[in-house]
């Protein structure tokens, strides 16, 4: 959307994208739950070339104290890109973009969490982008859900994240960095498959109402695929050898 005109072919005549995927295919997603020793819950997620580490602390005492709420626990999120995660070194100080994404992810996770049970406490979610390649907010959200579940926070559902978008006049699933730069639209979605609720939604780029509908449908479908991988990651940690018949 931004950037210069490029001559990258985003979609060839056989409907294959620049990284070899079909239009309705996500990148390879792998998630591992419980990768940090000190955090109450954690997850490592690879979403294509995105590499993200998430740590969850809490419920714990709130500092500064004035932030605490006597009616409910509060959720605090920090989305942060390491300086080496992108082509040109990123200033480690939190940018306005990172502050906005932190807020959007927080509001995407809140509907899933039952924090009323922990008044006067905070749950802190730290998402560290070790390598970025487009779609980091969806990947970070996906990893954060798994880390929160790993921390044993009561949840109504997991939130799965996946973007849809438009490139080369075609609606595509899971927009990568190249497609984000040279494409026409990017619509990141956060979705709770069991509750059928969309909790994260943003868009930049131009879509007709038809394309918007298609993107929503395709994106929700992508989230459902990601959801299965999230559940598998938790099963692998908690129902490993011996506990399952298989």
């Amino acid at each position: 959307m931004g950037g210069r005109d490029t001559d990258i072919v985003l979609l060839d005549e056989n409907g294959i994208r620049s990284d070899g995927r079909k239009v309705n295919e996500t990148r390879k997603v792998t998630i591992k739950a419980g990768v940090l020793k000190n955090a109450n819950g954690s997850a490592y997620i690879e979403f294509g070339d995105n590499k993200i580490l998430v740590g969850v602390y809490g419920p714990r005492d709130v500092h500064p104290k004035h932030m605490s709420d006597t009616n409910t626990g509060i959720l605090r999120c920090r989305y942060h890109m390491t300086p080496f995660s992108v082509g040109e070194r990123k200033n480690p100080a939190p940018s306005r973009r990172e502050i906005e994404i932190s807020k959007v992810i927080k509001e995407a996770l809140e509907p899933a969490l039952m924090l009323k049970q922990f008044p006067r406490t905070a749950v802190d979610v730290y998402m560290e982008i070790l390598q970025a390649d487009g779609g980091t907010r969806c990947a970070a959200l996906t990893g954060a859900s798994v880390a929160l579940a790993d921390a044993g926070i009561p949840m109504r559902d997991l939130v799965a994240g996946c973007a849809a978008g438009k490139a080369a006049d075609t609606v595509i699933l899971d927009v990568n960095n190249e497609e984000d730069q040279a494409g026409q639209a990017d619509l990141p979605i956060g979705y709770m498959p069991n509750l059928e609720k969309i909790t994260l939604l943003q868009l930049d780029g131009i879509l007709t109402t038809d394309e918007y509908q298609k993107c929503l449908e395709l994106g929700i479908d992508g989230c459902k695929q990601v959801y299965e991988i999230q559940k598998k990651a938790l099963q692998e940690k908690y129902f490993a050898v011996g506990e399952n018949e298989k």
Binding site: G3, R4, R97, V104, L195, L201, Q202, D204
Partner: protein
């Protein structure tokens, strides 16, 4: 913006009761926005300006134009930056100091609506490729706050940019020099307009005022262009939407947006 007022629980109960009867606190229908008035050219020293008032929420937007060195990756395009801030005169809880995440979101959503709609043809704003381009800065100052800042900033920005005059520049010895007294119209291709809706329970309300805003479950801001296409979206609030609700919101935003676009057009006519 969420914690701006501690609405007393009585008022909240009242709002919810009214919604069940299909009514709103100020008598509007669910899909009706508050009265919008726009004046352009209110700040003559700015190259473009607008005061937008939506109900009791008011914003003054000013456009300043100056030559800039382009970003290395976009040397073939002009520069566009929109910001927003809530002045301390706007509300008792508004404070000076570094921007809160809410204000950062407001500024970024305002900017995104203009940028992604391609309202301005940035390719026409180049003085010399990779060396000097025209920078257009639109700064929004919230002067009175009664909820739904997203939309007021969007309308003020669109009106200010649509009514601005760009000074003419020429390159002399590798440096841009202003030609006094000569102006050109900005290369406008479309008028982006945002419509913010909140969900309270199963009800979708357009253009919430502050009282309604403090009861919201979830909100969504949808920006559309003159062709009736969607150009930007931002969901907020601590709950979600169903697919059906999002489809409904998109249709409302196009319908309400087209009415608002006419008001902006009328307000900026003659100035451009």
């Amino acid at each position: 913006m969420t914690n701006i007022s501690i609405i007393d629980s009585l008022k909240k109960t009242h709002i919810l009761e009214l919604l069940k009867d299909g009514k709103r606190l100020d008598g509007r229908s669910f899909e009706q926005s508050r009265e919008l008035s726009i004046d352009v050219g209110v700040i003559p020293k700015a190259e473009g300006s607008a005061r937008a008032r939506l109900g009791d929420t008011e914003v003054v937007a000013g456009v300043k134009v100056q030559p800039e060195r382009p970003f290395p990756d976009t040397g073939d395009q002009g520069m566009l930056i929109c910001t927003a801030e809530i002045l301390p005169i706007a509300h008792p809880t508004a404070e000076t100091g570094p921007p809160t995440p809410d204000v950062i979101e407001l500024a970024r959503v305002t900017d995104r609506g203009i940028r992604e709609s391609k309202m301005l043809d940035m390719k026409q704003l180049v003085l010399e490729k990779d060396k000097s381009v025209i920078g257009i800065f639109c700064d929004n100052a919230v002067t009175d706050h009664d909820g739904n800042l997203f939309d007021v900033c969007s309308y003020a920005t669109t009106a200010a940019i649509n009514s601005c005059k760009l000074p003419k520049y020429e390159m002399k010895d590798d440096a841009p020099v202003k030609i006094e007294g000569e102006f050109i119209d900005p290369p406008i291709s479309t008028l982006p307009v945002s419509v913010t809706m909140i969900r309270i329970g199963d009800y979708i309300l357009v253009d919430p005022n502050m009282d309604e805003w403090s009861c919201l479950d979830a909100r969504i801001t949808i920006t559309t262009n003159s062709d009736g296409n969607i150009v930007a979206l931002q969901k907020g609030g601590s709950d979600g939407f169903t697919y059906e609700q999002l489809t409904k919101c998109a249709n409302i935003s196009i319908e309400v947006g087209s009415k608002i676009r006419e008001i902006i057009k009328t307000a900026t006519q003659g100035s451009n």
